[in-house]
Amino acid sequence: MDARVLQIEGVRHRYGALTAVDGVDLRVAPGECVALLGPNGAGKTTLIGLATGLLAAQEGRVRVCGGDPRSAATRRHLGVVQQTMGFPTTLTVAELVRGAAVRAGRPAAAAGPVLAEVGITDLARRRSAKLSGGQRQRVALAMALVGDPDLLLLDEPTAGLDVAARRTFWQVLARRRDAGVGILLTTHILEEAASTADRVVVLHRGRVVAEDSPGGLSARLADRTLTARSGVDVVVLRGLPGVLTAVRDGERVRVTSAEPERVLRAWLPLDDALGELRVEGAGLEQALFALTDDRSERDDETMGVPA
C-alpha cells in the first residue's frame, strides 16, 4: 500500500507559451501538513488544480490516495477549497454542507458537527447569497471537511478570515492532521503556516525553490537581515557584493544577505552617517522574500531540495 495521500512527480503544466508549473515533485503523507508558499503567479493554484484533477498533467504523474484524481471515485476522498468557488444563491449554508457530505458518500447528518467545528452553526439557515466574504470562506472549509477526506487541498483557505476565524481554522486543521489527514494548503501568511505545517514548500515561477521544515527554513536564513539608518540609495546597495535584497523603510534600510560582514565592509565606506545598525536572523517572511525576489538573482538556484 502506498503511504502517500498525494504524490506529484515531475509535473509540468503550460498555458500556451507560459509554463505555470515547471517540473514539480511533491509528496504529502497521511497526518502531514504541507504549506505551499510563493508570490502571486508562482503556480500554486495551478498545482492544486493538478492535484484535484481539474487540470490534466501535461507531463509527469499525479496520484491521490493511490488513485487518479480525474476519477470521481478518487475525488470522494478529497476535501477541496478552491481559490475561487461559487455556490448557488438559492441554497442555505446547512443545505450546502449537507449536500457536500452526501456527495462525499457520507451521511447528511455529518453536517451539524462540522458547522459547529468551523463556528458557523448560527449561519446554518442563511442563504449563500447573503454571506460575507469571510463567512463564505468558512462555509467552503466546512464543505471540504464534512466528507471526512483523506486529503485536504486548500487554496488560500484563510483569505478574508478575521483573527478569531483564522485561529479556529488552524486549530481545526491541526486536529485533522493529528487524526491522520494529509493536508496541502497555500497561503501568503507564512508565520501562521509555520505553527501548524510540518513542511514548507516554496514555489517560484513554477519551480520548487525551497523545501524544509518551518524551523529549518528560517534557521538556514537566520543570519541574513541587516537594518540600519542610512542615506545610501537601495539601488546602490543592491549592487554591493553579498546583498540579496535591499528595501527602504523611511530612514531605515533593510538588507538581506548570507554574508553580513562582507556587506558591512562594503556599505560602511559609502555612508559616514550609518547608524542604528542591527543584524538579526531573518523572519520567515524575509526568508520567503529573499527566496522569491527576482532582484536577488536567485531564480535558478534551488535550495534544500533533496536530490
Binding site: P30, L54, P88, V102, R103, R177
Partner: protein, 260 residues
C-alpha cells in the same frame, strides 16, 4: 513528523442515489426560491392560451374536436417546450459561470447525474404549467376531454420534453447564462410558430408548412393531438426519437467542450 494514524472512514462508493436526490432537491429549490426566471416561461404560454382560447375556444377544429381541446395539445406542447428548453440550460450555464459546476466536479459528482437532476427538477414545473392551461381551458370552455385522455396527453407531453431539455443543455454547456437565454428563445419562438403551436398550421404560409416536419415541436404537437383524435402517431414518434438522438449528440459534443 506526526505519526501516521490509520483512518477508517465509512464511505459509500459507486453510484449513490442520494446524490441524485440532493441534486434534484437543489434544482427544485432554485426554481421555488427564485421563480422569476421561469415565471415568464409559464405565464407567457398561459396568457397566450387564455387569449386564444377565449377567442377561438368555442369553434370546432377541422378534426371535429372543439378548438379548446386541440389547443390544449398545441399550447401544451408550447408550454412544455418552453420550460424544458429554458430551465435546464440556463441553470447549467449559471452553475458553470458561477464556479459551482467546478465545485461539484471536484467533489466527485458525475456530471451525468447533475444533468439528469436538472431535467428531473424541471418536470414538476412543466406539469404545473400544463395544469395552469388546463384550468384556464376548463374555465373558458368547460370540460372538453375525459380524464383518461387528459392524463395520456400530459404523459406524452412530459416525456416529449426530453429532446428540448437536451438541446437546452447543449447550449448551456458552452454559452454564458445571458447568451443561453437569448439563443434558446431565438430557437424556441420561430420553431413554435412554424409548428402551428400558436395558430393552426393550415393558416400558415406554404413555405412555413413545408419546414414544419423537420421541427421536433411539430411532431410532439401531432403526437399530442393524436391522443385526442386517436390518429396513429408512429411516424411522429420516430421523428421525436430522432430529434432526441440528435439533441443528445449535440449535448454530448457541447459537453466535450465544457469548461468548468
Amino acid at each position: 513528523m506526526t505519526a501516521v494514524v490509520e483512518r477508517a472512514v465509512e464511505r459509500r462508493e459507486g453510484f449513490d442515489a442520494r446524490v441524485l436526490g440532493v441534486e434534484v432537491a437543489e434544482g427544485l429549490r432554485a426554481i421555488l426560491r427564485e421563480p422569476t426566471a421561469l415565471f415568464f416561461a409559464v405565464l407567457m404560454p398561459v396568457l397566450f392560451f387564455a387569449l386564444f382560447a377565449g377567442i377561438f375556444g368555442g369553434y370546432t377544429s377541422p378534426s371535429g374536436l372543439p378548438a379548446a381541446a386541440t389547443m390544449l395539445a398545441t399550447y401544451g406542447t408550447f408550454t412544455v417546450a418552453t420550460v424544458m428548453m429554458v430551465n435546464p440550460g440556463v441553470t447549467v450555464a449559471d452553475d458553470r459561470t458561477r464556479g459551482w459546476l467546478r465545485v461539484k466536479k471536484v467533489s466527485g459528482t458525475p456530471i451525468a447525474v447533475s444533468v439528469a437532476a436538472k431535467v428531473i427538477a424541471a418536470l414538476p414545473y412543466a406539469l404545473l404549467s400544463l395544469l395552469a392551461i388546463s384550468a384556464v381551458s376548463l374555465l373558458v370552455a368547460g370540460p372538453v376531454l375525459d380524464v383518461g385522455t387528459w392524463l395520456r396527453l400530459v404523459g406524452v407531453l412530459l416525456l416529449g420534453g426530453l429532446p428540448f431539455a437536451l438541446l437546452s443543455l447543449a447550449v448551456g454547456f458552452v454559452a454564458s447564462s445571458n447568451a443561453t437565454v437569448a439563443i434558446l428563445n431565438a430557437i424556441l419562438f420561430p420553431m413554435s410558430i412554424a409548428s402551428g403551436l400558436w395558430i393552426p398550421p393550415e393558416m400558415l404560409p406554404g413555405v412555413v408548412q413545408a419546414i414544419a416536419p423537420v421541427l421536433p415541436t411539430f411532431h410532439l404537437a401531432q403526437l399530442a393531438l393524436g391522443q385526442l383524435t386517436g390518429a396513429g402517431g408512429l411516424g411522429h414518434l420516430v421523428a421525436l426519437l430522432v430529434s432526441t438522438v440528435v439533441a443528445a449528440a449535440l449535448a454530448g459534443l457541447a459537453y466535450r467542450n465544457l469548461r468548468v
